[in-house]
């Protein structure tokens, strides 16, 4: 098991948005998070990534396991594609950037500055970053935004490669990723809809 979650509750802006979540992801497995806009997918992924503490529940996760890809790509528009990738490779002490460039079909763009890419090309670069981290668990927030059909297939191939190598992935998305083998976790039943009230102390939750 790469990650296990028990009875998790997460909050955003001081409000608990999801509760009672429990799941586990084994090596080689991909989990797809589904839920309407504003249901808390991003919040959940940030919590799993360790950026914010859960309001309740436990997360079983070895340290140095995750690579997180958020809505924003974290690209520096004045650095070239190769420089952007090489930076993250150095930070993670990860592998060479060559295979990542190949996998995301960026070879023609390596010397282009990131600010001069089209929306979809930027996103491909953002995804290539995952491949240089060498981390087993990928946390992906709507990874295929702005990608054309060919690039979505490229991405699905990269995820399959990662899983085949014993990796795992948790992916929040609204669209079809072309990964029919992935398990789907619907967040709708876990949304917090009713107000729980009791003592005065509760107001500080």
């Amino acid at each position: 098991m790469v990650i296990g979650v028990r009875n998790l509750a997460v909050a955003r802006g001081g409000v608990t948005v999801l509760q009672g979540l429990g799941f586990a992801v084994a090596p080689g497995e991909a989990l797809i998070l589904r839920g309407p806009n504003g249901s808390g997918k991003t919040t959940l992924l940030r919590t799993l990534a360790g950026l914010q503490p859960p309001t309740a529940g436990e997360i079983d996760l070895a340290p140095e396991t995750i690579a997180y890809a958020a809505h924003a790509d974290g690209l520096k528009s004045t650095l070239t594609v190769a420089e952007n990738l090489a930076f993250w490779a150095a930070i993670y002490g990860g592998p060479d950037i060559g295979p990542a460039v190949q996998a995301m079909d960026l070879a023609a763009l390596v010397r282009r500055r990131a600010g001069e890419l089209s929306a979809g090309q930027k996103r491909r670069l953002g995804l290539a970053r995952l491949l240089v981290t060498g981390r087993p668990l990928w946390l992906l927030d709507e990874p295929t935004v702005s990608l054309d059909v060919a690039s979505v297939a490229l991405f699905a191939g990269a995820v399959r490669g990662h899983l085949a190598g014993g990796g795992a992935a948790i992916i929040a998305t609204h669209v079809d990723l072309g990964l029919p083998e992935a398990r789907v976790q619907d967040l709708d039943p876990h949304r917090v809809r009713i107000m729980v009230r009791d003592g005065f102390d509760e107001a500080f939750a």
Partner: protein, 242 residues
């Protein structure tokens, strides 16, 4: 029972509701007695003339301006170590009071300086460090105001208060080093014999007590407001989910 029980907001609200009227009464009594005594029934100083009467405002407010910061520092430490919400909110509540006292000390000092030193403002070390203290208060209050999430705000302002205290001490020392200045020394210190004469001394003590009580009263009152505001915010946030 332990003092930490007052870290429970409910308990704090109950106790403070009981204490508050007494605190208000004592404050008013002390301030009225001290100020009336000082203003109407003390003689003029042989050197400073009637301006000594300013001392009853200037010295207590200057003392409380510093003490309020110390109280905020302690409350911040309690929040960092034990995460008691009431203590973080008390620190927040104290800041505007400290700022007001700082301004009172600055304004009365400036008004005093005009007849005594012939200038409204001099870059004397004590004056300068008060200006800097004023900036610290402004920054601290602005940080509280700028952050939406109350826990985040409490954490960050506590860190600022800690680091700021260290630098405030450093500044005090630096400013002393930089300029020797005009301001009188600490004539209140107990180990010195040439204290201010008793005629001024006793009403001054009453005034100091009055300002301390005023501080306590206002902190209690404002902390109650902050607790209510915090609860209001939590309830509204819940409403939003529903």
């Amino acid at each position: 029972m332990s003092i930490w029980e007052y870290a429970n907001p409910k308990k704090f609200m109950q106790t403070s509701a009981w204490v508050l009227p007494w605190a208000v009464g004592l404050t008013v009594a002390c301030l009225v007695v001290g100020l009336v005594w000082g203003f109407f029934f003390t003689p003029d100083d042989y050197k400073q003339g009637s301006t000594v009467k300013i001392i009853y405002l200037h010295v207590p407010s200057a003392m409380m301006a510093i003490n309020a910061w110390v109280m905020m520092l302690v409350a911040s430490l309690i929040w960092i170590v034990r995460r008691h919400h009431v203590s973080a909110l008390a620190a927040k509540a104290a800041a505007p009071i400290g700022l007001t006292f700082t301004l009172v000390a600055l304004v009365t000092g400036a008004l005093w300086g005009q007849p005594m030193w012939g200038t409204w403002w001099a870059w004397d070390p004590r004056l300068t460090s008060f200006l800097i203290l004023c900036l610290f208060y402004l920054g601290y209050i602005a940080l509280w105001e700028a952050i939406e999430n109350p826990d985040t705000a409490a954490d960050l302002t506590s860190i600022l208060c800690l680091v700021g205290s260290v630098f405030a001490l450093l500044s005090r020392y630096a400013v002393n080093f930089w300029n020797q200045g005009l301001h009188q020394g600490a004539s209140l210190s107990l180990d010195r014999e040439e204290n201010v004469s008793n005629v001024f001394w006793v009403p001054l003590l009453v005034c100091i007590a009055g300002f301390v009580l005023l501080f306590v009263t206002l902190v209690l009152m404002r902390t109650r407001t902050e607790i209510r505001a915090r609860r209001l915010k939590a309830l509204l946030a819940r409403e939003r989910v529903a």
